[in-house]
Assembly symmetry: C2
Homo-oligomer: 455 residues x 2
């Protein structure tokens, strides 16, 4: 059953279930089942969790059921993590139990070849009246409702990004990175082989999710080309979609699937489709979240950016990147220059140009004056603030000034480039906690700023 | 005086001085003079440090001299950090004292316009028989001989990279980053306005320095075009040179200098020159050290790389990047496949292809088998090892296996992609301490691997 066939209210219930059963529950160290059980128990105050395992009486000290049909209460969501060959049998139980939806974590289906395809079709038939996620997936996560129905090693923070991924393994690393960089997720969805609910369904779902501001998507291939395009086009008018496409080259397509056949030139076709649909295509996982973070934290703006720097070289590089990405750097108005001069905290030989070079020995008072002056200029719609690490530089104070500026200038995105390592960490954490993206390199900052510009 | 005009032995003495005097020594917090004094004192067991300041009797508890000429002993190196207008006066003292060399940290010379240019020429004339670094520079650093003759906030670790930069501010952030990522430097040189010793001189110098394996260069403009090209071409035959050029676009050239004039198309000319000379051009500071780190830690190899991954998506992306950068991924030989199959630790449905997908639930025993099998195949000359962070993944154990493999296969470069954040840090530190570069994203790893390939 796909989402379109059903009433929305049912989908809501499926993805915010009141009762969940894990089929293949176990506490064996290092196992997928253990991961699932542990993660689900994080939400035990929000919903009832049942464990199904005919060979064990207890898992994590909780009584198990031999079969899902032994559970008395109605089950909204069943999660299956048993070997592929047993899946048809437990799927039949799920059908009998009339669960609302099933997530099949188990692999060994269509991704393995003809035999697996047959098995997948068999399971699909058994579950034809039931929502089906997977098989061959990591599961789904929503930190807002404390639902971690996956075997990911960690639960992410709440946030504004919905990450939908064809690769389950990427998700785990992405979560670990996000915990280090203080951004969070509304949904993380591993959609696997799409035997039931498809990528397009999930896109539609997060489009309607009120916590989701930005959608990040990793995909290798698309099954329903036209529907995917139409959905994508609709979504991008309201929410930005950042896409990373794996399997662009002939060689990697072999790795995606042995039966992809000849797909020369596919890269260009996909890129054209993404562009036409208004999506933002990126080249790497790092770039995907560099961009998604900024999109989820900052407002869109018109083309016209100010640059403030305490290092000439960094300012020059940033200018290079802006120009090659088509980002306009408006000239400073007389009034802006006067404001900075009047302050008298910035030495008189400052640049008088955009980028504004407040010179290496800048303390935070110079940042304050320059930030305020630039944001006051009407045709400067956003700001890149660069900090190289000099002997007198005050990273924490500078961060605080930027946080204040963000509060005063809500409609103008501010992106930071606090360059360095050890000695900028605290300040960067502070920026991130206040939803100001920081990048260690100007190139990454300018790439993110590019996506802020809406015209 | 330039290096070419002199005997090599004198240059050696200049850059490994037995006596150093700081003119403008002070301990005033946040000042350039204080930074200089503190940094130089780190090497006080290696050389004699004199402080010159007519207005203070003591600096950091050490007796000062009113003038450099008041010092009895011979002075090898004088470092000047006084306001520009006083520089001619103290320079005359240096000439009288017959110091071997002078570093002028002070700014306010040719970079500020005509007036400053005149002042610079005046100083140059005064110091015509003395080696001169700068003016308008951060200074020079060599951790091997405990020489930090700069006002950088920190001293880097010893290492194999010589970093020569036209921008002083970049250096400080680069050092801070290097301390976080465990790579080090043989020399860091801020060459400033090149009134005396030029960029080309310094290139020649680090070319001959035995601790330097790789040269990283940030520049905005080149003064002696032909000489620069010839020197570069000579050097790249023995040591890789990684170049980042700032001021590529018309707009940023305005920021480089107001009197650069029309330089349309300059970007292409510079890139062509770098390429012709055999240098590696990069696009960002991050890429510069991603690449320099690998070049300084790993051997060069022929074109033929193996990929090992525990995540399908990451393997596919890596394959894409390899193919678009022209990196060959040799097919696995029967013998290699047999080795992996015989081990029986990798499930029989593994990829049998390069990339070798050892599957998400891989423990470190699978990494061990796959690494050994791939490196044993003759036409696989280097390895990219990818680790996504699954519930059962063993980052530290995997790191140890890779460290062992590096020892056994000295001639084959191994580059890691331990993806994640919080939970891979320890393992990444361990890799870095053993001079195995790790990148958080496959794209950055492949870019680095590309520079390992010598044919």
């Amino acid at each position: 059953m796909t989402i379109q066939n059903s009433k929305r209210i049912k989908t809501q219930k499926l993805f915010n279930p009141k009762t969940v059963a894990v089929i293949g529950a176990t506490d064996r160290p290092g196992s997928v089942g253990r991961g699932l059980c542990k993660n689900l128990l994080e939400g035990k105050n929000k919903r009832k969790i049942y464990f199904v395992n005919p060979f064990k009486n207890k898992v994590f000290g909780i009584k198990t059921y031999p079969k899902i049909t032994d559970i008395k209460e109605r089950v909204d969501l069943a999660i299956i993590a048993v070997p592929a060959k047993i899946v048809p049998e437990v799927a039949k139980d799920c059908a009998r139990k009339k669960v609302l939806g099933v997530i099949i974590i188990s692999s060994g289906f269509a991704e393995t070849g003809e035999q697996g395809k047959k098995l997948q079709n068999e399971v699909k038939k058994i579950l034809k009246d039931i929502f089906l996620v997977g098989p061959n997936c990591l599961g789904v996560i929503n930190p807002f409702i404390k639902l971690n129905a996956s075997f990911a090693p960690q639960t992410p923070q709440k946030g504004e990004i919905a990450f939908i991924s064809q690769s389950g393994a990427l998700i785990d690393s992405v979560i670990d990175k996000s915990l280090d960089e203080n951004y969070g997720f509304s949904w993380i969805i591993s959609y696997g082989n799409e035997a039931g609910i498809t990528l397009t369904d999930f896109l539609e779902f997060v489009y309607q999710d009120k916590n989701t501001k930005t959608i990040a998507l990793y995909l290798e291939g698309v099954k329903e080309g036209r529907k995917f395009y139409q959905t994508l086009r609709k979504i991008t008018q309201k929410k930005p979609v950042v896409i990373l496409k794996g399997g662009k080259t002939k060689l990697s397509q072999k790795a995606v699937s042995s039966h992809t056949g000849s797909l020369a030139g596919e890269k260009e076709i996909y890129s054209a489709v993404f562009k036409q649909a208004g999506a933002i295509e990126v080249e790497s996982v790092e770039e995907m979240f560099d961009v998604a973070k900024a999109l989820s934290w900052l407002p869109q703006c018109k083309n016209g950016i100010g640059i403030i720097t305490n290092g000439g070289g960094a300012g020059i590089l940033t200018t290079d990147y802006c120009q090659s990405f088509g980002i306009k750097l408006p000239k400073l108005k007389e009034k802006t220059i006067r404001k900075i001069n009047l302050s008298s905290v910035i030495p008189s030989h400052w640049s008088k140009n955009n980028p504004v070079d407040i010179i290496g020995d800048a303390l935070s008072d110079r940042y304050k004056i320059a930030i305020e002056a630039l944001l006051s200029q009407k045709n400067i719609y956003g700001l890149i603030v660069i900090q190289t690490l000099q002997i007198m530089t005050q990273p924490l104070e500078n961060a605080k000034i930027i946080i204040e500026a963000k509060k005063r200038w809500k409609e103008k995105p501010i992106i930071c480039v606090f360059m360095g390592g050890k000695n900028v960490k605290k300040a960067v954490k502070l920026l991130e906690k206040n939803k100001i993206p920081n990048y260690p390199d100007p190139l990454r900052a300018v790439r993110a700023m590019k996506t802020m510009i809406s015209e």
